[in-house]
């Protein structure tokens, strides 16, 4: 049955992240924060980060969304911890390419577990769900650069 194909999109790892998301909480001590909205469904996601010694020491997110956006936020916040803003920006661009079906050099090294979301490329309508949290992180870092 065709539903079996859903397994392509909703891999076990993704379902696990969505059901038991990591870093899904406010970060009171955050110094970077941005709220983004998925205009199609009205979902809102807030990403927060705390910098220390030029690296992301902690990351968290709050807000509602579908399985893909929740799992993606969960994986993203896992992956960016310990990275510099420049590294994160590279990761976000790489992730965006990945879910649009483009080749990303060294993707596993760059994105860690989040490479599993590559499957989203086959579901173009869901790309926006997958990239929401990543875009929020990117813009949060960019905004603070502008303010520097």
């Amino acid at each position: 049955m065709a539903l079996a194909r859903l397994n392509n999109l909703y891999r076990q790892v993704i379902m696990d992240h969505a059901k038991h998301p990591h870093n899904n909480h406010p970060l009171p001590q955050a110094d970077h924060e941005l709220e983004l909205r998925n205009p199609t469904c009205g979902d809102v996601l807030t990403v927060q980060m705390k910098m220390q010694d030029g690296k992301i020491a902690a990351a968290g997110y709050t807000g509602t969304g579908c399985t893909i956006s929740q799992a993606s936020a969960s994986m993203m916040t896992d992956q960016i911890i310990g990275k510099t803003p420049a590294e994160v920006e590279k990761m976000v661009l790489g992730f965006s390419d990945l879910v649009m079906g483009k080749e990303v050099p060294d993707q596993a090294k760059l994105l860690g577990d989040a490479v599993i979301l590559q499957s989203v490329a086959q579901f173009p309508a869901r790309i926006k769900c997958a990239t929401l949290a990543w875009k929020a992180a990117y813009q949060a870092l960019e905004e603070s650069e502008r303010n520097d």
Partner: protein, 412 residues
């Protein structure tokens, strides 16, 4: 019933395809409908025989094209029971039509301190233009409440519509919950207070017989693409006296009587609104769609949708954890159903249904204030039309159960 309807189904070649290896079940008709061969063929025939620009030409093709285009104005008038073909302005769609009313009639007639009364059911197209107008002129927006089961609350309407009300803008049928609004009653309230009644008919004209005069509408807008016609064409119907008072918004070819270097006179209604080359083939396609709908009969279409909803609603209600928004009584709805499966985001549900070939929409349906009112961020929406069958309804139910199994009972 389902079987007899399959006669019409044969007119829609797109339906006879597989999607993700399953037969397509198209239940996204509130977003846009499919087009019958008669419409496609009429447009093709126009391009292969009569295509020319209209109004301006002396030659034979230009005459034929003009005649075919202008005939549709009369056809639309008859279809919605207008009074005079001059009242029919062709637009890009409902959105453009409502924007024109707000930006032209509204901007010249609504004053600071006036009130504009909407409802929580409105589509953004019948809401954001009024927000913009209100901001521009300093008017105030008010929202008619809904009853507990999602119908328009007439008591709230009676409370909100006062002598300060300049405009009442209301959808004839909701694109989220399928409820049909008591336009006639609200028009009477509006007119008793000297307000103008604007009706968004996008979700009504395709589904039920509409009589703009009986409804008491002053303006009535709808889209071709939601009623079997091509994309890019719609109608603004308005009372002649009001249209006459409206300044045009798009200036250029064919809406003009005389152009000097510094001054210009405009033509009469409806031509003054139709600046530039119009969607000529689209209008002609709209005429063919009206013919097709009238050959079936709007009463027949309403009845068919009612039967489908009566068939599917109890089955949906029986699914544990499935919340259905709006009246639970099938007779209070058009063919639109919005719902959520507890614990599952509607985007995930829609992706799952798509894997089973079932096309539904998920999101806020351009009705964010209603979503907030309902306390959800989004819903899934299945919308039926004349070519849908009981088999389609069965496949929807099955697909929802599949999805529920997949996501909520951990089958993956």
């Amino acid at each position: 019933m389902g079987k007899k309807m399959n006669n019409w189904r044969a007119d829609f070649p797109i339906l006879a395809q597989k999607v993700n290896d399953e037969p397509l079940v198209y239940l996204d008709n509130a977003a846009t409908t499919q087009k019958p061969l008669a419409v496609l063929q009429t447009v093709r025939d126009f391009y292969e025989n009569d295509n020319a620009n209209i109004h301006r030409g002396v030659h034979t093709l230009a005459q034929r094209a003009t005649e075919r285009y202008e005939q549709v104005r009369q056809k639309v008038t008859d279809f919605i029971h207008g009074n005079d073909w001059h009242e029919v302005v062709f637009t890009k769609g409902t959105t453009e039509a409502l924007n024109w009313v707000a930006a032209s009639y509204g901007a010249t007639h609504v004053k600071a301190g006036d009130e504009i009364v909407l409802s929580y059911l409105e589509h953004h197209s019948n809401l954001v233009p009024w927000q913009q107008l209100a901001k521009k002129v300093g008017a105030k927006l008010k929202y008619i409440e809904l009853t507990a089961d999602g119908q328009l609350d007439l008591q709230s309407a009676a409370d909100l519509i006062t002598d300060r009300t300049a405009i009442v803008a209301l959808c004839h049928a909701s694109n989220v919950m399928g409820v049909v609004n008591p336009i006639q009653a609200v028009s009477q309230l509006a007119h008793a207070h000297g307000a103008v009644m604007v009706v968004d008919g996008a979700q009504a004209v395709p589904h039920l017989p509409v009589d703009v005069q009986e409804l008491g509408a002053d303006f009535y807008a709808f889209s071709g693409h939601k009623m079997l016609a091509p994309t890019g064409v719609g109608v603004l119907w308005g009372k002649l006296a009001l249209l006459n008072e409206m300044p045009p918004l798009e200036f250029g070819g064919e809406m003009i009587a005389n152009v000097g270097l510094y001054e210009t006179d405009f033509k009469e209604v409806p031509y003054k609104f139709e600046g530039g080359t119009q969607n000529i083939a689209g209008v002609i396609g709209l005429g063919a769609a009206i013919d097709y709908l009238q050959a079936i009969g709007l009463e027949q279409i309403t009845k068919h949708e009612q039967e489908l909803i009566s068939y599917v609603l109890p089955q949906l209600q029986a699914i544990d954890g499935l919340e259905i928004y709006g009246p639970q009584d099938p007779s209070l709805r058009t063919g639109i159903l919005s719902f959520n499966l507890t614990g599952l985001h509607p985007h995930d549900l829609a992706s799952a249904l798509d894997m089973d070939g079932v096309a539904v929409r998920a999101g806020h349906h351009c009705a964010q204030p209603l979503m907030n009112y309902l306390g959800v961020s989004a819903t899934a929406r299945a919308s039926f039309y004349l070519y849908n069958t009981k088999e389609d309804a069965d496949l929807l139910i099955k697909a929802i159960l599949d999805a529920k199994e997949f996501f909520l009972n951990g089958s993956c």
